[in-house]
């Protein structure tokens, strides 16, 4: 299995030279990182080339890299000891009129924030590959749509648009798919609060369902910790 993947890697290195920025082979999975401008070229090649023939798009998803590698709790031992617990983030109440403006990313991010990740499967060759492309613009992320190459991308791209706000150029029908009709915001972005921004209830006075800013406060449960001092479990396993 792994040698087949290595073959594929060398094949792509020669035939797609300059069209991707990196190709990484880890855990038996090949990942290509592709700049947005050659995204469609590479996809077309992988779909139609005799040696690759990735006939099926298994999965397409968005990723928001804004908080990558950020922990909530510092575990480095120091002379003063560990920091304690986690502060609840202060959240401004949701403002319906300002909603559209607040939808824009609040802080300037170093580097590219949004990525689209695609998993392809070749049934004929029994191989998988992962492609990733980063969106150039953090405020208005756009990626060319691959619906014409793989029709199954249609709903996956709608989902990525709905949850992350990533736009897909030339998508035939880019609508929200999972969230409510008239939903504001993109819930899987890292700056979207876990409890959401609005809650819904029936108002007996107005005799209709109304939306209000959420009243509950999310308490941090288990803090997010990144441990460098912990010996890797995998390497420990190997020593045993």
């Amino acid at each position: 299995m792994s040698s087949k993947i290595e073959e594929l890697q060398t094949y792509l290195n020669t035939h797609l030279e300059g069209k991707f920025t990196s190709s990484v082979l880890a855990l038996g999975e090949l990942t290509l990182e592709i700049p947005a401008r050659s995204w469609l070229d590479v996809c077309n090649f992988l779909r139609h080339d005799e040696q690759t023939q990735f006939e099926q798009l298994s999965d397409l998803c968005g990723v928001d890299y804004i908080a990558y590698g950020k922990a909530e709790w510092d575990t480095h031992a120091s002379s003063t000891g560990f920091s304690r617990a986690v502060q609840a983030p202060s959240v401004d109440p949701f403002d319906f009129d300002q909603a559209k403006i607040k939808d824009e990313p609040s802080e300037a991010v170093a580097g590219k924030r949004f990525a689209v990740v695609v998993h392809l499967l070749s049934i004929k060759r029994n191989r998988r590959i992962r492609l990733r492309t980063f969106c150039e613009d953090n405020a208005y992320p756009v990626v060319p749509s691959v619906v014409r190459i793989w029709n199954s991308a249609n709903w996956y791209e709608r989902e990525a648009f709905d949850l992350f706000g990533i736009m897909f150029n030339h998508h035939p029908d880019l609508r929200r798919i999972l969230t409510d009709y008239g939903f504001i915001g993109h819930p899987l972005r890292k700056d979207f609060p876990l409890a959401g921004q609005v809650e819904m209830r029936y108002d007996p006075l107005q005799k209709r369902v109304i939306y209000e800013p959420v009243s509950i406060v999310t308490q941090p449960g288990v803090p997010r910790v990144i441990r460098q001092d912990q010996p890797s479990i995998a390497s420990q396993e190997r020593d045993n």
């Binding site: 990558y68 049934i123 249609n154 479990i233």
Partner: protein
């Protein structure tokens, strides 16, 4: 001259044949479908968002609730992704237990599918038959995990505990007398494996019963043959997997092609259809139940003769034994760290796919080295299948839409996530 135009029909979300909460907006030309636009998301619970806020082990329960009729298979996809990133070994006995419960789950799923599908098409009896057998399998779930549906039984590094030596018994009540209880408990005297063996001996006969009712039934064939035909090329294009792909003629099964758990040790066949219509998919799933039965038999046989651990002894990931914690400081610390903070996964990403009863279920996990997933994308087979609804339903009658939904085996827990 009156103006003739298409009209729009709203199907669901509370229609009994909508299998949950599907809302279909159908554009009709008379009785014929011109365009079907499924509106999904009415059962969206934000699983992928919730998972990001919890340590890895606390999210196994969410996986049960994705496709809520094939619970353990969902868990399997999730724990496989974690194990892949951690690089830990799963004991062989746990592999076999997982294989066995995956197949039990497959039968559970297909039984519910045939019950719902035939009820939609008009065969009431099948529903009662299928639920009779489901009861036994859910008892197996209960024996092993304490829960009939949402088991949370698979854990990274193995399964939660070994198979029990005894089965839960029925008890006498005001409505159930001694003789009745004795009859009900007759096959529950031995271990779980004895109970399952008894089931596997009975089950092929039950499948024959279903087939007697349906396979050559004139009404059943009139409703299914030639309905929702998917050509092999289109099936690939639309991302179909599992029985939807095999019904169109591809012998593609991850259990064979990219084996996981103990499937490489086990002998079974992949049923394949030829016409790609609803009837072929029905035949494929019926045969899959028989094959699953075969796999369970082989697993029972293996498990009877091979004892051993069912959980990895790497206590960074799996909790130590309760008895060890009483005298071993190290074990106590491990337990405390595991139950409070959880474990950190090494930085990286993994895509773990399994052959779920409905198709390819996969978890794409990105870790930045923290004790919680950075991103977990759940690739649900039903999502891709439902996106093909428009193409499958176009040109068919309104009543065929119900047959197509049934034949796609849609469950909204996984489509909406």
């Amino acid at each position: 001259m009156p103006e003739i135009r298409n009209f729009t029909l709203n199907f669901g979300p509370a229609h009994p044949a909508a299998h949950g909460v599907l809302r279909l907006v159908l554009e009709m030309d008379g009785e014929m479908i011109v365009r079907a636009d499924p509106h999904i998301g009415l059962l969206h619970r934000g699983t992928e968002k919730l998972v990001e806020s919890k340590p890895y082990n606390q999210s196994i329960g969410y996986m049960d609730r994705l496709d809520y009729v094939s619970m353990m298979c969902n868990e399997h996809g999730y724990v496989l992704a974690i194990e892949k990133l951690l690089g830990i070994e799963v004991p062989i006995r746990a592999q076999y237990i997982r294989t066995m419960f995956d197949e039990i789950t497959r039968i559970l799923n297909h039984l519910l599918w045939i019950a719902g599908h035939s009820l939609d098409v008009g065969a009431m009896t099948m529903f009662l038959y299928a639920f009779r057998e489901r009861e036994d399998l859910m008892d197996a779930y209960e024996a092993v995990s304490g829960a009939r549906l949402h088991a949370t039984y698979y854990r990274p590094g193995g399964v939660n505990r070994d198979l029990p030596d005894s089965m839960p018994q029925y008890e006498k009540t005001r409505w159930r007398d001694e003789a009745e209880v004795k009859r009900q408990n007759a096959n529950r005297q031995g271990s779980l494996l004895d109970f399952l063996e008894d089931f596997t001996n009975r089950f092929p006969g039950k499948v024959d019963e279903y087939e007697t009712l349906l396979t050559d039934n004139r009404i059943w064939k009139q409703r299914l043959v030639g309905v929702g035909v998917v050509s092999p090329e289109r099936a690939l294009q639309m991302g179909f997997t599992g029985p939807m792909l095999r019904g169109s003629g591809f012998a593609w099964d991850l259990r064979k092609k990219q084996p996981y758990a103990a499937y490489s040790q086990i002998d079974f066949d992949i049923p394949v259809g030829t016409n790609g219509d609803s009837y072929d998919r029905y035949l494929v799933r019926i045969e899959e139940m028989r094959q699953s039965n075969r796999i369970i038999k082989q697993c029972i046989d293996w498990l009877r003769h091979h004892q051993g651990p069912v959980r990895s002894d790497n206590h960074k990931v799996t909790p130590p034994k309760r008895a060890d914690m009483k005298h071993d400081m190290e074990a106590l610390i491990h337990h405390f760290k595991l139950m409070t903070e959880g474990y950190c996964l090494p930085e990286g990403e993994a895509y773990a796919a399994i052959e779920h009863p409905k198709g390819e279920f996969a978890c794409y996990l990105i870790s930045d080295g923290a004790n919680k997933p950075y991103r977990l994308k759940i690739r649900a087979p039903g999502f891709a299948h439902l996106s093909g609804m428009n193409e499958m339903a176009r040109g068919h009658m309104l009543s065929d839409v119900v047959a197509i939904i049934g034949s796609q085996d849609i469950v909204f827990g996984e489509v909406d996530r």
